[in-house]
Amino acid sequence: MMDGKVKEQKEQRKHQQKSSGPKSERKKSRKLDDTAVEENENKKNPKAFAVQSAVRMAKSFHRTQDLKTKKHHIPHVDRSPLDPPPIVVVVVGPPKVGKTTLIRCLIKNFTRQKLGDIRGPVTIVSGKKRRLTFIECNNDINTMIDLAKVADLVLMLIDASFGFEMETFEFLNICQVHGFPRIMGVLTHLDSFKNNKQLRTAKKVLKHRFWTEVYQGAKLFYLSGMVYGEYQAQEVKNLGRFISVIKFRPLAWQTSHPYVFADRMEDLTDPETLRLDQKCDRTVSLYGYLRGTYLKKHTQVHIPGVGDFSVADVGFLPDPCSLPDTKRKRTLNEKERLLYAPMSGVGGVVYDKDAVYIDLPRGHVNREQEESRPTTELVRSLIDTHATLDAKMASSKVSLFRGSATITDTDVEGDEQLENSAPLSPDPTSNRERRKMIFTGEVEANEDGDDSEDGDDSEDGEDGDDSEDGDDSEDGEDEEGGDDGDNGENGEGNDDMDEAESDEELDTNEGNNVSMFLKQVRASTEQPGKLTEPQRVQTGKRLKMSVDEGEPKVSETLAFADSEDDLELSKEDLSEGESAAEESDEEDSESEQIETRAAGSAFCSDEEWTDDEPDVESTVKSEGMEIPPPKTTEKDLKKAKALEIKGSDQAYETDGALRWKDDLQQKASEVFLKHQQAAPNLRKLVYGTVSSQGAGQGEEAELGGLFRVSRPEKSKTNLADAADYSRFHPDSLHNWDLEEMMHSIADCFVTGKWEEWQDAATLLKQDENLYGDFEDLETGEVHNGDDKDQETQPEVGGEEEADDDAKEDIKVDDETQKKNKRLEKKRRLKERFDAEYDDGDATYFDDLKEEMQIQAELNRTEFESMDDATRVQYEGFRPGMYVRLEIAALPCEFVTNFDPHYPVILGGLGSSEGNVGYLQLRVKKHRWYNRILKNRDPLIVSLGWRRFQAMPLYHIEDHNGRHRMLKYTPQHMHCGASIWGPITPQGTGFLAVQSVSETKANFRIAATGVVLELDKSVTLVKKLKLIGYPYKIYKNTSFIKGMFNTVLEVAKFEGASVRTVSGVRGQIKKALSTPAGAYRATFEDRLLMSDIVFLRTWYPVAVPQLYNPVTSLLLPVGQKENWSGMRTVGQLKHDLGLHYKPKPDSVYKPVVRAPRHFNRLNIPKKLQKALPFKSKPKQDQGKGKTPRDLIRPTVVREPRERKVAALLDALSTVHSYQRKKARGAQRLKHKGFLQQREKQEGEKVKRQKEAKKKLYRMMGQQENKSQRSSLKGASQDG
């Protein structure tokens, strides 16, 4: 029923269009008009389209051009690598804002894995072409600075319930200085808003503030609330999507310097030297993806927080977290969602030269951590005897109910912190307070031996109130993991452990740092005698933990299962190792799988990889190629030695040593081919054999050795001192009289034969072919030639094809050939057309862009076909490679105080960036920093990769280019600064802070700026005023003393201009013999003896040579943010309780002025006479006595006369009163009269008006009458 009704309603009557009548006609006419108007609107209203003003037209043209050009960026050659390194995603924010939770959620989102404790960078595969490295930035300005330099993407977490905090702004300013990475804001704690409107306004306010800081329209995410201690899955997913599609612009510093963000650190120091000297310099290998640009061997690197080091060895390893190889799929396979975080204890199995890294299966981490927690807690606490009681107390946990979350000291503290900070938060001024509060809380936490993360987590737990249980349990995990990590790092008591304990240890530690495992292994190797059988079995077991089926790339071959033959080969050396391996084999048969890396290169550095193997092969195959073997034998020996030393590592080592047997034939053929080519021969001639090439500085010192390669030995000394000229005198000239010889270079000249494609004749022909009739092509020779081509092609393609098929093929080919030809012709015509007509549009910018593109293409393709080992020699290590850098002589504190929460960055330095010199900077005090900066006060500068303390001298450039020293930085202006520091390319930005340790309420970034100039000397001057006094004054000449001390000094200043206080200018003329230092000077006026003479000069100032790198990474764990360097004078005085004693001269005293007495002005009489009367002094003395006759006598009245006078007085008073009274009355009367008269006047006027009106009316009537009568009369007449 209803449906029917609806249908009826829908079927409405259609609108009837009128086909006749005025309306339809109007419409028709309009339609016609419309088309016409569109066509010739210009004609219809030509004025509107005419050029009104040439100036305005030019202006508008300029404007459009300006707008167009503004969009252009300077084109850069795209040097981004084909398989780029993982993107560094730095998660930044003040404490307790949810950084760890976010990282955990994102990792879970991308990899479906749950990480318990996150320490150090975590690398994951997020998509087919993208990998991400997450790192959390803790609340330390050192870390913030370091991470801002390597960040590609910054996730900036903001506590919406609180608003922005200082840290956020500090980080933004750091970013601005060091190149602006992509920044995405994330608002958290949005669930604390009860009111929806409040929430909306808060969002809006924060968004707009964020936009002004970053850029208009910067992406800001909202994480609305927690669900079971995690952010909502959908929101995290969206955030993840944004991260995986975001695009980047290359940053200048990052693209011009190679850098490695280390995700793994191993100490390689010889245990024996370690035993002898605990504090010896360590050899350390650091691992990570190479980013930025090509890394050369033997480059210097700077490790921010440690110092400058030269890289002893670089090698590339197979990618531990590689991208999926097939790119045809749409989504990632579950197995391809890799996760690599060695410092957190997760990742693939990695073998390399001296370490083994083991991964656990997916999901294993969590389960283990969760399940084994309560039992291991007890065991571990029993084992842990190296921790003090206090520390244990601090880390001890109480469980109220079985299976429930444990409560720790820090948890309680965290609660307290929250309670403390919570009431403060609404206060807008409490921003600063909040920072301070949190920091102190953290310090306490650190002192207790926990890391700051735990505090974070506990807070997170508090946030999700309804999901407290889940959160707390997670906290428990975290803490446990953290403690385990500490254990692992300290892990010295491991060898004391009995088997069962170590077994359990392992269970708990599976998600843990490798270094622990390594150390265990090392500890066991140190005492091979102690090594018991079960322990060795244990090592075998450990191996087997490395199950990761999901990584076909990372783990290529099964090593031990079928390597018995291989093992036998090395039996002589490795009896022990063999047994271990065999045991492992036995164990293998039980149930578990062993997978190892097939990376041969992991065992040896890349040169070995390339050189050794060919050597071995050449001996095997006896090709007879000349390859110098001594190097390799040495290395083999070394290797063997290493094998002997390392007991438990043997199993792996044997495997690696015998790996060369794999696909022997193929490699041999490759090598043969390589040697067949001419290029390596030439290369050998120039660079010697490759093995000697990579051997380092020691070998380069005896560079003369290279001569030996190409020339006989005896000539070496002669050559070393031979004449140095660049001319190339050939040993024997060709005989250029011979016709044959002359013929051989005939084509070098324009008169010679040209190439096919350049020859004028062929070019002409081509043109004919192109523009001639197509049919012509099919006939004649051309056609035959094509046929030939066609016939040969299928022959090449395959001989087995049947003959009858061949004919058909030819036909088909013929057609395709024709088609191709047509297409080719079309293409060339189009090209020609484009060249003719489009070229006008091509701007300089387009040309430049195209040029860059061509260069980028060339860069990409030039070394593409080479294998990595060779390529590395030409290019250096490519960005995107996973490299291992070995650094010798690192301070032992780096290893002993290693904390994975602090980033280890290896920043490559340019060719002369390792030197020091003077830097001239342009500085501006930060407008949010509330003090001005004092000259020579030490500042901590972050410049390039480095953070260092320097003493800047501020200066300003005068109009004549003089650099005048300033005592303080100007308030709102740029000024110059000179420091002694590392040479850094000009144009590099820097920032300065006063201290990195204190956490003040105020903004900490003191100044920002840019490097202008580098030099080895500076010309900075300050003002110097020399004072002298005249001691003899002739007319305009005076003798001045007291300014100089010797004649020589005066001689230097002859001709210099001087002036007095009153402004009389003069010049130094000549020195006087006595007194010493006195001189004659002339002035523009005569001086007084009381005058003081000034000489203004400039005195050069030396810049203090202080370069003090901030070694924050070397500080003990928990105190890394407390680095303090040189103190400022103010701080020193404050700390020592000193006070400034002012000079007595500088103290203000009350001004006492003696009353001044002026003498009379005395004008000579002669002058007086000459003066005009006006200016003559007037004789204004008193009139003198009045003459007697003029003096009037005083009258004394008689009593009667007095009476009469009194009466007369009284009478006159009465009279005057009466007169006054009478006048008043008279005035009143007159007023009345005037009023009356006015009234009468008004009436009179009225009357007259009336009368006039009457009169005029009458007159009008009369006139009308007479007019009428006259009209009548006329009509009567007519």
């Binding site: 004449a723 324009v750 020091v916």
Partner: protein, 372 residues
């Protein structure tokens, strides 16, 4: 803090080491300089070269031991500006100029150098040769403009000298990568025949004999005669010829020959000199490439100092000097060149084997230049 240094033995390739050290900022210690010689230690011309480097730099530390057999060189920053240098007449100005050409583009202020000494001698490339070949090469790398100039004010032959050369060069922050793979065909040959303190006819005789040889290949030849008199003619007599072949793509191949210094070696007739020089040019053409043998190292250096892009250049056979230069580049900049030998095709008549040199630049930038 300072970068680690390098050590070498012997005085050979002295300039290369010092120049590369200056550019890379690495210290260098050269030991055993003519230590076995009867007259040990540095020669005057080497000392003069060091002094020249000291003039164009700021903050350079030079230590030489008492016998002069050990030199320690810690480079400062390149300063430039107007300098004047009396080059030791033991070597010609070309010796010094070759070093300056490598450094001039990376100064703080544009270099204006007045070099006095021997302009032409048989061992080193003469000023005229560098003018015709090295300057166009600099232009290929983006060092061009008004400032680039090399002018022979006075000509001075060995051994007396007395010549004067004005060299000025603009500064650049970065160099651009080059792809000089196709030399093109030679379109013309130009030359300068000079004679000082001898008959002006000498030059004409040289021209005639030289033309007689190369006229068979190309008709477009013009050889200028340059006869200087009086104060501009230096202190010693002599004559010589510089020939340069220019290709269509603007590359130059050159050869030169000059008479032996007065009182040394056998005398040579101007006719023979002209012929021999022409033959040397043919030899150079036979070697071929985009850069002639004298400037190979200059081209390779600028490729090394380019941006981090691939540069390519086609060279003739590498001279021993260049080979050593390549090794030094590897020491100082860790750059290795990819070398592909290009043997001549069978039907091609373009001289001997060529080498295609390929490298990726280090991304060098002029750190001395001031930004305001």
């Amino acid at each position: 803090m300072t970068s680690h240094g390098l050590e070498y033995q012997g005085c050979n390739f002295f300039r290369q080491r010092l120049v590369l050290s200056t550019l890379s900022g690495k210290r260098v210690r050269i030991k055993g300089i003519r230590s076995r010689d009867d007259n040990p230690g540095l020669r005057d011309f080497e000392a003069s070269f060091i002094r020249l480097l000291d003039k164009v730099t700021n903050g350079t530390k030079i230590e030489i031991n008492q016998t002069g057999t050990v030199l320690f060189y810690q480079p400062g920053l390149l300063l430039g500006g107007t300098i004047e240098h009396d080059c030791n007449p033991q070597r010609s100005i070309g010796y010094y100029l070759e070093g300056l050409l490598m450094l001039a583009a990376f100064m703080k202020t544009p270099l204006k150098a007045t070099l006095k000494g021997v302009t032409n001698d048989p061992t080193d490339p003469s000023v005229d040769l560098l003018k015709t070949t090295a300057l166009p090469l600099l232009k290929q790398f983006g060092i061009d403009g008004d400032g680039l100039e090399l002018k022979v004010v006075k000509r001075g032959m060995a051994p007396g000298g007395g010549g004067e050369v004005l060299f000025s060069c603009p500064i650049r922050r970065t160099l651009r990568p080059v792809q000089l793979t196709e030399p093109g065909k030679i379109k013309r040959i130009r030359g300068i025949a000079y004679s000082v303190r001898c008959s002006p006819q000498m030059a004409n005789r040289i021209v005639d004999s030289a033309r007689s040889v190369i006229n068979k290949f190309i008709p477009d030849i013009y050889i200028y005669t340059d006869h200087l008199k009086g104060a501009n003619s230096g202190k010693s007599p002599g004559f010589g010829l510089v020939l340069a072949a220019e290709t269509q793509k603007g590359f130059f191949l050159s050869a030169e020959l000059s008479s032996a210094p007065q009182g040394q070696g056998p005398t040579i007739l101007p006719e023979d000199l002209g012929k021999n020089c022409a033959k040397l040019l043919l030899e150079e053409i036979h070697r071929g490439g985009c850069v002639d043998s004298t400037n190979q190292s200059l081209a390779l250096l600028f490729m090394t100092l380019g941006q981090q892009d691939v540069s390519k250049v086609l060279l003739g056979p590498l001279s021993p000097y260049t080979v050593e230069f390549l090794r030094h580049i590897r020491d100082f900049f860790q750059i290795m060149f990819k070398m592909e030998a290009k043997p001549p095709l069978e039907d091609e008549r373009k001289g001997g084997e060529k080498v295609l040199m390929t490298c990726v630049g280090v991304g060098f930038s002029n750190i001395s230049k001031v930004t305001k």
